[in-house]
């Protein structure tokens, strides 16, 4: 049986797709057969972030409509043979996704995959609801700002009431907080909420803090999930997140401003 992870937030542009690509690659590199699905019908970009946009033949909607088999639509990653991508359709409208269709695909994937990562679109409409409906775990991606925190809170309410687990009275979806685009300097200046502020409002288990990093943009542009850039803070943060999710006990990092070395301290006025 696979474990289904939804990467969600409510708000757009907070880093859901970046996170989906990173953790899917991270889990696959740990040796788990992982599928990552783009639920953002009409605005597909997971394939870009993963660098497989030129190999897309069939998509999620084709499979739902029976126009292609799952095997035909899944794209195998060239860097890691445990990772498969199911791209979204760019041409259909979002009503093309149905609960039955999505359920059938997830069930079929569950037979052979260990993890299924669902990259949710923004909003609280159909696409987002379907992405989270079948989930076992939810990674709630939040930026340290009031609007994003509020939207995540709203999403958490929906997760706890409108999922399959909630409807069947099963154990609730496990919810994790991923605080993304964190900038300790701006937190210090009072321009951003701190980790404690966000924790206080959401009271959610913190899986990790991902720092704001220029490396993310260049990684996206080159189609390389940021987790493969082990030099970057953001890449390391995602690796920590994957390892914490898999049960390792790792201290949180990237919460405080870079400690300047002796040299830096001497020359700071």
């Amino acid at each position: 049986m696979a474990r289904i992870i939804v990467v969600t937030s409510g708000k757009g542009g907070v880093g859901k797709t970046t996170t989906s690509a990173a953790i899917a690659m991270g889990l696959a590199k740990k040796g788990f057969k992982t599928a990552v699905i783009d639920f953002d019908v009409g605005l597909r970009n997971l394939d870009l972030i993963l660098g497989c946009e030129r190999r897309v033949v069939y998509d999620f909607v084709n499979v739902i409509n029976g126009e292609a088999t799952l095997n035909q639509a899944l794209i195998k990653d060239k860097r890691c043979n445990q990772l498969y991508i199911l791209p979204a359709s760019q041409t259909r409208d979002k009503d093309a996704l149905t609960k039955e269709g999505v359920g059938k695909i997830l069930e079929e994937l569950s037979k052979t995959f260990k993890y299924i990562v669902c990259d949710s679109p923004a909003g609280i409409e159909r696409g987002a609801n379907l992405a989270m409906y079948f989930a076992d775990d939810a990674f709630v991606v939040t930026n340290p700002e009031v609007a994003s925190v509020r939207d995540s809170d709203r999403m958490l309410g929906i997760l706890s009431s409108k999922s399959k687990r909630a409807e069947n009275n099963d154990d609730p979806i496990k919810e994790y907080l991923l605080l993304s685009r964190y900038n300790p300097k701006r937190v210090k200046l009072g321009e951003m909420l701190s980790v404690e502020d966000v924790q206080d409002i959401l009271s959610l288990h913190l899986l990790g803090v991902i720092p704001e990093s220029k490396a993310v943009l260049s990684a996206s542009n080159s189609g390389t999930p940021i987790i493969l850039n082990e030099e970057s803070n953001a890449g390391q943060a995602y690796l920590d997140i994957v390892e914490r999710y898999l049960g390792e006990d790792k201290p949180h990092r990237f919460i405080d401003e870079d400690k300047k070395g002796l040299f830096g301290r001497l020359f700071r006025s």
Binding site: I124, D153, L156, D200
Partner: protein, 249 residues
């Protein structure tokens, strides 16, 4: 195997009757003008489309006794807005007859919310605050206790008949309502309405007051009017001669 599964299942009971209390939104009408109602209904739904989608709705006609109301048209308008009327209450004899013809159940009109004092505050509460449908009052008067240990998130609403105890936080944008007292052992950031059926002795207790709105029996105070001295502290909120008081505990 020779047993016919159909034969066995016809011997065992196929159903049972149970009574159950449900919470539904009530539409209190102030006007009989279907056009105006439809227009405002659509506006209202736009603000929370998910909440209203396929929602059951009880139509309360007490406010439009004096007016000529075309009930079939009203029901159509409500259905067209994606809401499902499940009955009327408080109608005139004529209106009840029309409802019968439309196969709409007729509920007794006793349990009207006394949240009328909220009028000045929001139109939202008028349409949204869902008192339970009246049930026959032949059960002994026990206070129903509801305990919730999960955070109440933005967009969620809770309504209970008796006392409500929450051992987690209530987020901004969440709404908790009780006919009795409310206890929040966590930060109260959303709206809390106690004594929503008019019980003026109801209280709200919380361990950290940061609420958007607090109300007892329809007497409310919005966040802006909550004094600094009681903010972010443990408080008791109660009614004294129609005045809503907040004190540190």
């Amino acid at each position: 195997m020779s047993t016919d599964p159909k034969a066995t299942s016809s011997n065992s009971p196929a159903f049972e009757f149970k009574s159950s209390v449900i919470t539904v939104p009530v539409l209190n009408l102030f006007s009989a003008d279907i056009n105006v109602i439809s227009l405002q209904l659509r506006e209202k739904i736009k603000q929370a489309p998910e909440f209203f989608k396929n929602s059951p709705l009880l139509i309360d006609l007490q406010g439009v006794h004096e007016q000529e109301l075309n009930l079939p048209l009203l029901v159509d308008a409500i259905r067209n807005a994606g809401i499902l009327p499940i009955g009327i209450r408080g109608g005139t004899q004529d209106q009840k007859q029309v409802a019968k013809d439309l196969l709409l159940p007729i509920m007794s009109a006793q349990s009207r919310t006394t949240s009328a004092n909220l009028q000045t505050n929001t139109k939202e509460t008028k349409l949204a605050a869902p008192p339970p449908t009246p049930t026959e009052k032949n059960e002994p008067a026990v206070i129903e206790n509801t305990i919730i240990d999960q955070p109440i998130r933005s967009g969620q609403r809770i309504y209970v008949k008796g006392d409500l105890t929450i051992t987690a936080q209530v987020s901004p944008g969440a709404e908790i309502m009780a006919e009795g007292n409310i206890h929040v052992y966590g930060t109260l950031r959303g709206r809390a309405l106690a004594g929503v059926q008019g019980d003026e002795s109801a209280c709200i207790f919380c361990s950290d007051l940061q609420a958007e709105l607090v109300s007892i029996a329809g007497n409310y105070r919005i966040s802006e009017d909550i004094e600094e001295s009681v903010r972010n502290t443990p408080v008791q909120i109660y009614l004294n001669k129609q005045a809503l008081l907040i004190k540190n505990i």
